[in-house]
Subunit: 180 residues, 4 copies
DNA sequence: GATGAATGAGAATTCATTCAT
DNA sequence: TATGAATGAATTCTCATTCAT
């Protein structure tokens, strides 16, 4: 009833899926939860995406390529004139801030899921590659960028998992050693 | 039928849970799957562990304290007379070997799942702390150990998630910069 | 297997639920028992009624509005030309007849269950209100009707719960005092 | 371990059962809930009461005979020098007060359960009989007492189920008509 | 195309009761 | 005698997917 013509239906479903995963984790994604979040009939989600995996993949792919994404926001920190290390320190500090960790968690959700689901691995790999590529524009070589990404991921994990407060000096020192 | 008296039942359930998580990830853990893996009636798992979270916690606690655990194996690498960096390089190289990544994946399942499940967080944090403590015996200060753990975590994630082959020279260089 | 197209499915489930409650009380109502009574797969009951409470509410709402319901039958007694008191005496007498107390029990199951389940309360209250409204057409004021309903409820409870035989004279006297 | 000698164990279990039923209804009664409430091992409840029904019956019987019971409290209202009607008005008013309806609910739980469980019917009947006996000491004959009990039960039901505020004048008028 | 209904499997729990010790 | 463990059935509820319309 009603809503017969709705061209962006498919896109709205993907958007809703991102919202759901972002809020409740990948476990929270179901046809039902997405249909509700998108305000779309249940059958519509299975019509546009044959399986739930298809939907998940579409959603995660979009997260990575979305210009408004987490990743894109890195540039904001790096381009602002300060040194690379200073930019990264502020980036980490903001990520660790308790108010909105959903972006970071979304990234780690992807990593976690990719550990067990082969179809997601390329997406996770692409996500890591893009980070490296981005950082490589500011480092002396690719290897340094890769190391930096590893360090950043590890530091964020520690910040999120342990209760330790953000120690700016320590983080800066760590980054500085790698940047060289 | 039969098997009315069975001490160690509880322990066998925990062991089975670890096996299940190790093989199928945390998503694969259910009362049913554990009961099957432990060759125990379904009700038995819920008798000993009222909720699935309880079981998960017991399992992961044991992973951490298990003398055969991933963490314990680190000492093997570090104590073997070689330099810290050399030891860690070999550690990472072995972890990256494709034949048995289940130990490492198990660790990361734990870390990453803890981001969404509050009750797991303390356990994951403890696991991180133990790694830091262990490494700190070989570094000049705690901060260096913490940074090393972050770097190692990030590098392992990259190894697990991307198809890139293990690049010994690059890894050694990265570690060396942090060890200083 | 078969039966993919089945309109009225929902309605049949509600009917089955009423039958189950009527025969086994509210405690006897479960997704399983309803599915069996309606000859419908288990999942079908949960599809149409997400929670058991939803089903219970739908069932009881129907009991109230069913033209064949207990309540509707009251009119039969009241409209038959005799005095109000005489009509009520016969109503109670018939209700007390041991052959079919299931209708009355169903009503009281509802009332009393509503005391512990908030969502049922409005329905029970509505049921009471309708009785009052009905009786008020035959009494001098609303207050009398309300009192009559209370007395009738109490008398029926006594009839159902104690083994005492129906004492027509006593019941008539009681009603007469309230009708005034 | 410990707590080997505990003579009142049985009694404490009954007390706990009353507490559980009073708080969560008869549905809430289980070996587990009672064991927890009595701070007693699970096996202890099945040892002292072969089936759950036995325990329920013991508990409800005690509720009725307990000198501190709801029923006994009626005397407080009736003996205080005021007229029977005034006493009952205040009794009802207090019962309807929202702060502690657990006593009344417990009584109606008993009624409800007795509608469907034969073994409970004698207990409910006895409960009603005791109320009648008590009131009969203040009324001109047994029939009046029985009618009063019916009216009171019905009025309490209405008070508990509908949101209507307690209307003292109306209740007094209703009682007065029956008392005569 | 689009969708509400259908369904069977599986999820976590709860539980009364039995039994070995 | 007392009790922790055991167990199998049942509970509610969720879900991915299929299908008739």
């Amino acid at each position: 009833m009603a809503r017969r013509y709705d061209p962006d239906r498919r896109q709205r479903i993907v958007d809703a899926a991102i919202r759901v995963v972002s809020e409740h984790g990948i476990d929270g994604l179901s046809h039902r939860s997405v249909a509700a979040a998108a305000d779309v009939p249940l059958g519509s989600t299975t019509y546009h995406f044959a399986t739930l995996d298809d939907l998940l993949i579409a959603a995660l792919r979009q997260v990575n390529s979305d210009p408004a994404s987490f990743l894109a926001s890195w540039e904001h920190y790096l381009e602002s004139g300060q040194s690379l290390v200073d930019g990264l320190v502020r980036l980490l500090e903001d990520c660790a801030a308790t108010d909105d960790r959903s972006h970071v968690r979304l990234e780690y959700d992807l990593y976690l899921a990719a550990l067990r689901r082969d179809r997601l691995q390329p997406i996770a790999a692409a996500c890591l590659d893009e980070m490296v590529e981005l950082l490589a524009r500011y480092t002396k070589d690719d290897a340094t960028a890769r190391t930096l990404v590893a360090l950043i991921d590890g530091l964020l994990l520690q910040l999120l998992l342990t209760g330790r407060p953000f120690d700016r000096a320590e983080v800066r020192a760590a980054l500085a050693r790698v940047v060289g």
